[in-house]
């Protein structure tokens, strides 16, 4: 998209570099002159917050790796050594473990924002699907990272999740043995998880590159869901407007992050993970990290192993099909009165599933999880396709400028 200004090098070295690698003009186009819709709200700062979190996780992760040992008899002690002996180790580890939570918190807001404002609709399908891929990679990375401290929850979380693959008909058992490198989760498993936990963040960074590339081809969506028509009237340059707003969003986000690190660093963790892994004893109540709970609740609510596993993966995979499941011509939820109601029911359903995922798998909790599980799938498979056909939408403004001026 054509920007607000063009990059004109005056300095001799810059001109020399430009003729050989136009990286400065590319950065100028992408992060300075890039047209940003005028009507963006603070929900749009989570892209920058997520980029910040990815960098923060890689930086803290790389330094933690300098002190960690991926060996099943030494891993737990290595983490305790980081906590007690390594200079600033406690802070770096708390920043990294709470960073994972903050990363997921931000990505869930980013995703709900995308759903509310129909950000996945044409021409942003590929942009959205790349986002779903990033989410999957984040889940894999987060899961493997949680295994590394080799506490009871690490070990049993790894056992439960790797056993999901044993549900595959015929070859399931062989696949799990292959994943473990043994007959149960053990040292080979820890070693390969460490290798992959170090690798995947860089894969995420690469897919984020594609995600931003796709974003810059189709342009940003916005709360009114109408495209930029006149750059001067409908948009402002990325710098300073979006840059400053994103910086403020990150600062507020960092306040919460810092509160977690310095005041309640173990609030989101599980006390059982401070007990070294014991393959002979399952903790009374296995719970994954909070960010996996809704999917875990769906898994547990189905009394058939294969069906439970399929439902859990389907709950995530369905997101990729949103662009085609949502049949409404109107992009933004702002102009869809019925969709708005169902969106909030969906949000409450997701949070409810998260709560149930943390509860023991018995009695009323299982029944409630089944009801909410059906509601979760119904949102994608029934509500969204039907709503587009029957809903009477409100009039959509012709341009972003009209939408902004109508408010004043």
């Amino acid at each position: 998209m054509h920007g607000h200004s063009t990059f004109e090098p005056k300095n001799g070295f810059v001109k020399w570099l430009e003729a050989r690698l136009p990286i400065l003009s590319f950065s100028h186009e992408s992060f300075v002159a890039y047209p940003t819709p005028k009507n963006l709200n603070y929900w749009w700062t989570f892209g920058a917050i997520l980029s910040f979190m990815l960098v923060a996780q890689i930086v803290t992760g790389v330094v933690l790796a300098m002190h960690y040992t991926a060996e099943s008899t030494m891993a737990f002690d290595a983490v305790e050594k980081i906590m007690r002996d390594v200079n600033w180790g406690w802070m770096l580890r708390y920043a990294h473990s709470n960073g994972a939570s903050m990363f997921f918190f931000a990505v869930y807001i980013h995703m709900f924002r995308g759903i509310y404002y129909g950000s996945y609709k044409a021409p942003r399908e590929v942009l959205w699907i790349l986002g779903v891929i990033i989410f999957l990679l984040m889940m894999a990375t987060g899961f493997m990272g949680y295994v590394l401290p080799w506490g009871q929850m690490s070990f049993w979380g790894a056992t439960v999740i790797t056993n999901l693959f044993s549900a595959i008909p015929f070859v399931g058992d062989q696949i799990t043995v292959w994943l473990w490198g043994g007959y149960s989760v053990g040292n080979p498993t820890l070693n390969r998880f460490y290798a992959l936990h170090y690798l995947l963040p860089f894969v995420i960074a690469a897919v984020v590159g594609l995600h931003v590339w796709a974003l810059h081809v189709v342009g940003q969506g916005n709360p009114d869901g109408v495209e930029i028509k006149d750059i001067k009237k409908d948009s402002v340059p990325f710098t300073p407007h979006a840059t400053m707003k994103d910086a403020f969003g990150i600062a507020v986000f960092l306040l919460i992050f810092a509160w977690l690190i310095f005041f309640v660093p173990n609030y989101l963790g599980d006390a059982d993970n401070y007990i070294p892994a014991n393959p002979m004893k399952t903790p009374a109540h296995i719970v994954p990290e909070w960010y996996f709970l809704p999917f875990y609740a769906i898994l547990r609510s189905i009394p058939n192993k294969l069906a439970g596993v399929i439902a859990m993966f389907a709950a995530i995979a369905l997101l990729a099909f949103l662009p085609w499941l949502d049949t409404s011509k109107v992009r933004s939820g702002k102009y869809r009165p019925l969709f708005k109601i169902f969106f909030w029911i969906f949000a409450a359903t997701s949070i409810g599933l998260g709560y149930l995922g943390a509860m023991p798998p018995e009695g009323g909790y299982v029944l409630a999880a089944r009801i909410l599980g059906v509601m979760y799938f119904a949102f994608f498979l029934v509500i969204l396709p039907v709503l587009g056909l029957v809903e009477k939408t409100k009039p959509v403004p012709a341009t972003i400028a009209d939408a902004v001026l109508a408010k004043h």
């Binding site: 056992t159 439960v160 056993n163 044993s166 490198g181 149960s184 009394p303 294969l306």
Partner: protein, 151 residues
């Protein structure tokens, strides 16, 4: 040809993840069961996994034998799961997602898996919950009346 070449290159990269020679070489385990009193379950470690050795009481044996097989999810008579009725030997790994069930718990007084609520009876058969199969009976033999070799 190219496909064969590609497969030959990829296979070592995939197969390296399978259990290595030292893991495969892990021997079988011999257990002295003479000291296990009636009604007690002992857990031993075999191939990194727990194995339950249950010295069943007459009541437990009766409960295991008097079951209508048609009501079972994974129908198997108790006699097919034991070599001697008083000794039940099963791998202590829940067939749902691999947790270790707790002994003498659950409605059938067999095992209860705390992870996702699977309930097993005194024969280690699945009776309730998400697990699809009975607890697995490993290969074992009685060397003497009080000695068992597992594996």
């Amino acid at each position: 040809m190219a496909a064969v070449g590609a497969a030959a290159v990829v296979w070592p990269l995939i197969n390296q993840m399978s259990p290595d020679a030292s893991t495969l070489a892990m021997a079988s385990t011999e257990v002295d069961i003479g000291s296990i009193p009636v009604g007690q379950i002992v857990t031993i470690k075999w191939r990194g996994k727990p194995v339950f050795i249950s010295h069943r009481s007459p009541k437990e044996i009766e409960e295991a034998q008097n079951v209508d097989l048609a009501t079972l999810k994974d129908p198997q008579p108790d006699s097919a799961r034991v070599k001697k009725p008083e000794w039940l030997i099963v791998i202590g790994v829940c067939t749902h997602l691999g947790c270790i069930p707790l002994g003498h718990q659950g409605e059938y007084n067999g095992w209860f898996c705390p992870c996702h609520g699977s309930v097993y009876d005194t024969s280690g058969r699945i009776r309730k919950g998400p697990a699809p199969l009975n607890l697995v009976v490993p290969e074992y033999s009685f060397l003497t009346d009080t000695k068992v070799k597992i594996g």
